[in-house]
């Protein structure tokens, strides 16, 4: 609702909406510090509404206006005390100090860019010890172009300078693990610089943007915050007729559907299929949910001009059941939450029923014109990644392998026999540098198999990896269908002869494979070699982790206190420990 509202309405109703949304249960508190190069209150007000709608209550701290450098580098007391989870360095082209002089030569220009970038480098370095994720705006193009077109060419041109500075920021962000770039330049460009800026607001309030501009900045910032907390969508669910091809395949026949390059309409459907395939190649799962008979629906993807083919879908539901039933089945077969799904259908009645029946599913108002679908999906920012890991690039394959595994499962006498047949092998070991990215990513997006739902930022994970008072293990699992990658993490904290399990997570794509028993066996082995004789496990209940309520009991822990929402369990090692893993072979425990 907030996401579809206009800036004028939100400004007017901001306080009332905020009051309403704050009544929602189970809001996750996120502490966000703004280092302000301009007045950001309006952006923050919009950001708060957008995040509240997604179940996050931000708590803000603002630096004094234009003191973004001082409060990051010289006088950090306010930031240190605030303990931010995320720090937004909200600067814009208005804050660039080292603009090139008119007589700047080609050979001086790079040094000039480096000098301005280093000023920000000092900020990022200054913030490092806080253990927060730092989000840095890049720079929007200036409205004024003193040299006209030549401004993009001249070493003294501000347009050229901003391009170079943005490229430098990109290089820095790629090299630093705790620095993310917020693409202010992209937001301002998509709004249009003339509609983005308002000179009166700048002179009166030191705001860089119009209300519409502020709202777009807030939406794009909200997408980053959600991504940091793993709240990105994972799967695109597609209707078929008039969504991925033109026409009704059951009526028109498989050879009459509109796809390919012959007509403008066919080209638009082809472009949408290409977009879906691109999403898949970067790790977004694709699924089909269509009212059709399955055999006919499948023929649509055998059309010679179809970009998508059957193998691209992790799940395929074409039948005459209500769509919300099929969508629930898709989520459960893929082992992901309904809140991981985005549903695209040209039919407003189907969109309506999904929105009403399954409010967790994102149902963008794509309209009925396929040429608009891509831009509506882009505006929703559903699949925002922080960075691309190798795991992302392989994910779609891994889920497809899962479907093969499920097919195999039906052929066995019992579940043990099935697990044996998977020929699983695993590696469980203390954190390694090469995996820290993936470990952080997994920690922040795992909601179901997550005993405590603690979130860690990369700098904290690095600190834990280096700290001997922690036993922190990762697990990787391979089977005969493929490599599942790094899918489980335990962080244990030593206190005398007791180990407290601060975090235990596992990816749901390897549920019910016995991986948790192997993880515990490895953890106990580590504990025994460190003189630990008791392990304490904690279950902190959330709306989404009911799956693991019985986790510790199933592994032989004794309940030892706490209330229902915050349970404590104990495993006594002083009487020895019998390893529990049965089906995962040849594991290398280094």
């Amino acid at each position: 609702m907030i996401a579809n509202a206009g800036a004028a309405m939100l400004l007017r109703k901001q306080k009332g909406l905020r009051r309403e949304l704050q009544n929602r249960p189970n809001l996750l508190i996120v502490r966000i510090a703004f280092l302000c190069g301009s007045t950001v209150n309006e952006v923050a007000a919009f950001l708060e509404l957008l995040l509240l709608e997604q179940g996050i209550q931000p708590v803000f701290s603002f630096s004094d206006y234009n003191k973004y450098f001082e409060e990051a580098v010289l006088d950090t007391a306010r930031l240190v005390e605030f303990k931010p989870d995320i720090i937004f360095v909200y600067t814009s082209s208005a804050n660039i100090q080292g603009w090139p002089a008119l007589d700047t030569s080609e050979s001086d220009l790079n040094a000039q860019v480096a000098a301005e970038s280093m000023r920000f480098g000092a900020i990022w370095n200054g913030l490092q010890s806080l253990g927060a994720v730092v989000v840095q705006n890049n720079f929007e193009l200036p409205v004024q172009r003193l040299f006209g077109n030549y401004d993009a060419v001249s070493p003294a041109g501000r347009i050229r300078f901003v391009h170079l500075l943005n490229a430098e920021f990109a290089r820095e962000a790629a090299a630093r693990t705790n620095l993310l770039i917020h693409d202010l330049n992209g937001v301002a460009a998509s709004v249009g610089l003339k509609a983005f800026h308002d000179a009166d607001r700048w002179f009166s309030y030191k705001m860089i943007a119009t209300p519409e501009g502020s709202l777009e900045v807030a939406k794009s910032s909200a997408a980053l915050v959600l991504a940091i907390y793993g709240r990105t969508r994972k799967c695109l669910v597609l209707d078929l007729d008039n969504t991925v091809w033109g026409g009704v395949i059951g009526d028109d026949g498989p050879d009459k559907i509109k796809i390919g390059r012959e007509t403008a309409e066919a080209e638009a459907f082809t472009a949408f299929q290409e977009y879906c395939l691109q999403l898949r190649s970067r790790g977004v799962l694709l699924a089909v949910c269509s009212k059709n008979s399955e055999a006919i629906a499948r023929q649509g993807f055998e059309h010679p001009d179809s970009v998508l083919s059957l193998e691209h879908f992790a799940c395929f539901k074409a039948n005459w059941e209500p769509k919300h039933e099929n969508i629930k089945a898709i989520a459960s077969e893929l082992n992901i939450g309904l809140d991981s799904l985005v549903f695209v259908d040209d039919n407003p009645a189907e969109r309506e029923i999904i929105s009403a029946q399954l409010p967790e599913v994102a149902v963008p108002n794509v309209g009925s014109d396929v040429s608009r679908f891509i831009s509506v999906l882009e505006d929703g920012r559903y699949f925002e990644p922080l960075r691309l890991s190798r795991e992302d690039l392989k994910r779609a394959e891994q889920y497809k392998e899962n479907v093969q595994r499920a097919a195999t499962q039906g052929r066995f006498q019992n579940y043990d026999e099935y697990l044996e047949s998977l020929e699983m092998s695993a590696e469980v070991a203390p954190f390694k540098q090469v995996y820290l990215d993936r470990i952080t990513q997994l920690i922040n997006k795992t909601n179901q198999f997550n005993l405590t739902t603690r979130r860690y930022m990369q700098p904290q994970i690095e600190a834990i990896a280096a700290d001997p008072s922690y036993i922190a293990l990762y697990g990787k699992l391979t089977d005969k269908f493929g490599d599942n990658g790094l899918i489980s993490v335990i962080i244990g904290r030593k206190e005398n002869s007791t180990l407290h399990i601060d975090l235990w997570i596992m990816s749901c794509r390897v549920l019910k494979r016995g991986m948790e028993t192997l993880m515990l066996d490895a953890l106990v082995a580590e504990c025994q070699s460190h003189g630990i004789n008791e392990i304490r496990g904690y279950y902190i209940q959330t709306e989404r982790n009911g799956l693991v309520a019985g986790h510790y009991t199933a592994l032989g822990f004794q309940r030892s206190g706490g209330d229902d929402r915050h349970q404590v369990f104990k495993l006594d090692l002083s009487q020895g420990y019998q390893p529990q893993n049965k089906h995962i072979k040849e594991y290398i425990h280094e």
Partner: protein
Amino acid sequence: MSDILAELQPIFRDVLDDPALQITRQSSAATVANWDSLAHINLVSAIEQEFRIRFSLSELAGLKNVGDMIDLMEQKLAIK
């Protein structure tokens, strides 16, 4: 033209989140609760959008209370 005050009433109530608020020509930031600097920006933006008018910097600088705002709006709306 005095119904501008009536039209402003719901805008002030929404922006300042006070459904019982009664503004008069004499109301100002000094006399109305929650009318802080950010609320002021929101009020100006909301009025500009609602009435499709634009205030200049010098016009805004001269306003002392709601009455001044209404007089200025009457001039602007008459020209339209």
